[in-house]
């Protein structure tokens, strides 16, 4: 395993940047209640105390607010609810999120029609508006949740770092296959269980536990380098499965934060999970290809560089563990 400096750089950068602005998407739901009436729900992530992101919904021209929005602030998110009346319905109209292009947030828009059909769209800073489909397509929604899953893992540096740690521990291809499969199976189980409401984990302790799983891998990687052995090194798939259960809850919180459709939960869940696996496999193959190329190029890393990945995983794990425990205990907000 001659992975080294590169991965350190990779993670050092991702870690700082991704956590600097932990992006939570805003959520707009428009539920049709009559031929020309809708209930609007608008959730904007807050920025601490009484601040919120400057995002505002602009509905199509024919729409008017029946009453003023009722606002509430829960869990550092601002929620507004209000009924809307749209002459001729929303179909074909353009929904725009004002202020989105100035942020780094996404907006997930979910439209539910009277017949239960839904259209889910993801708006980004570069693409802040969309046209409501006259006939919403299931495929559009599928693509949205698939993309959401891939995005979630690629943005989730903690998950990727854990996978990297596993890669640094496993010795051969068969073990690698078993380990990755175990991790996948485990997080799929808890992701499904948490999303469907059979199990739940409160977020702050969960985050701390996920950080702890990364910290746990650090010393094991160092042991591999010293040719020592341990339970983890002999049965990495066991550890992958056990901690995979934790990471699944993490994925579930990511999926929940974006809002799930009411009717097609299973479908959305499946595609979100597939998206996560696509992102994870891409990462695994990328790392393997890079390691292989390093061998081809006959790079002789200095000793400290070889030790770097293990210490990076351990250090970042420790840092996050302390940080998240402090959050958990209320020392910092």
């Amino acid at each position: 395993m001659k992975l080294a400096i590169l991965i350190f750089v990779l993670f050092a950068t991702f870690a700082t940047s991704a956590f600097a602005h932990e992006v939570r998407p805003a959520y707009l739901e428009l539920r049709q209640t009559g031929p020309e009436t809708y209930d609007a729900l608008w959730k904007v992530p807050g920025l601490g105390q009484d601040l919120r992101l400057g995002l505002y919904v602009e509905l199509p021209v024919g729409c008017t607010n029946v009453t003023e929005p009722r606002a509430s602030a829960i869990n550092n998110a601002f929620t507004e609810r209000w009924p809307v009346e749209c002459a001729g319905g929303l179909g074909g109209g353009r929904i725009h999120i004002a202020g989105l292009s100035a942020t780094m947030t996404d907006v997930l828009v979910r439209l539910e029609r009277l017949d239960g059909a839904t259209q889910v769209t993801r708006l980004t800073p570069s693409n802040p508006s969309f046209v409501v489909e006259a006939m919403p397509s299931r495929w559009r929604m599928a693509a949205t949740y698939l993309r959401l899953g891939t995005d979630h893992i690629l943005r989730g540096v903690d998950h990727l770092l854990f996978v990297l740690g596993l890669l640094l521990i496993v010795g051969n291809r068969w073990t690698l296959f078993k380990t990755i499969t175990a991790f996948t199976a485990a997080h799929s189980i808890t992701l499904a269980a948490a999303t469907l409401g059979y199990a739940s984990a409160p977020l702050p302790p969960l985050n701390a536990a996920i950080a702890l799983s990364i910290l746990f891998l650090g010393p094991e990687i160092v042991r591999v380098r010293r040719d020592e052995t341990s339970l983890t090194i002999r049965y990495p798939w066991l550890v992958a499965f056990a901690f995979g259960l934790l990471h699944g809850f993490g994925f579930a919180s990511g999926l929940k934060a974006t809002g799930l459709p009411q009717t097609d939960i299973a479908w959305a869940l499946l595609l979100f999970n597939v998206g996560v696996e696509i992102g994870q496999l891409f990462f695994v193959f990328l790392i393997l290809a890079i390691a292989r190329s390093f061998r081809t190029l006959e790079i002789r890393w200095p000793r400290w560089a070889l030790a770097l990945p293990g210490y990076t995983v351990g250090t970042l794990g420790a840092y996050w563990t302390i940080e998240r425990t402090a959050i958990l205990l209320g020392f910092i907000r």
């Binding site: 990779l10 991702f14 190329s293």
Partner: protein, 207 residues
Amino acid sequence: MTHMKYQPTRARCGGIAAAIVLLCLDCPRAEAHLVTTGLGPVYDGIAHLALSPADLAVVVVLVLLAAMRGPRQSRWLLALLPTAWIVGGLGGLTFQITASLDWATGLSLLLAGALVAADLNLPLPVVATLAAIIGGFNGFSTGAALARTPHAALELLGILVALIVIVTLIAGVVVPLKAFWMRIAVRVLGSWVAATGLLMIGWSLRA
């Protein structure tokens, strides 16, 4: 261990100096492709490189040039090219010149592509100098394009990661190619790049 040691001497400094001098000569508008992935600035930087065909072609052809000479030159390229690119990029961020550098990119493609096609046994210093100059230059135009984005430094970081990955992966594929016809295939690729570079110069002269 000695392989990865930098020798930040004339090669790189000369490259950067040449890049800066060349830059100050020319002045129409730059055409930048700024990409938003929605995954944050580091990924935006990766996407910026991955979706700039000219930059990609420059990187690929330089890797081909070094990889055809074996692992030693590839290792040097792996150290030099991203460094030069980022140094150039920081220069571009600082000076923010909005000149079109298409002709220079075309020239880099023509030169490096022709060298790949010719399959000359170039010594390491020549390849290293070329990589530093071309990398620094293209980095400069990347930096100038990124100067308008809010998180330019982070995007540069993404570009650095992408460069290291691309150079590593392509060199890993090309270095083991020993079969005669495989080398011919690489040379043909080089000649395609050179031809494209020549045409690019033509387009920018006509524009």
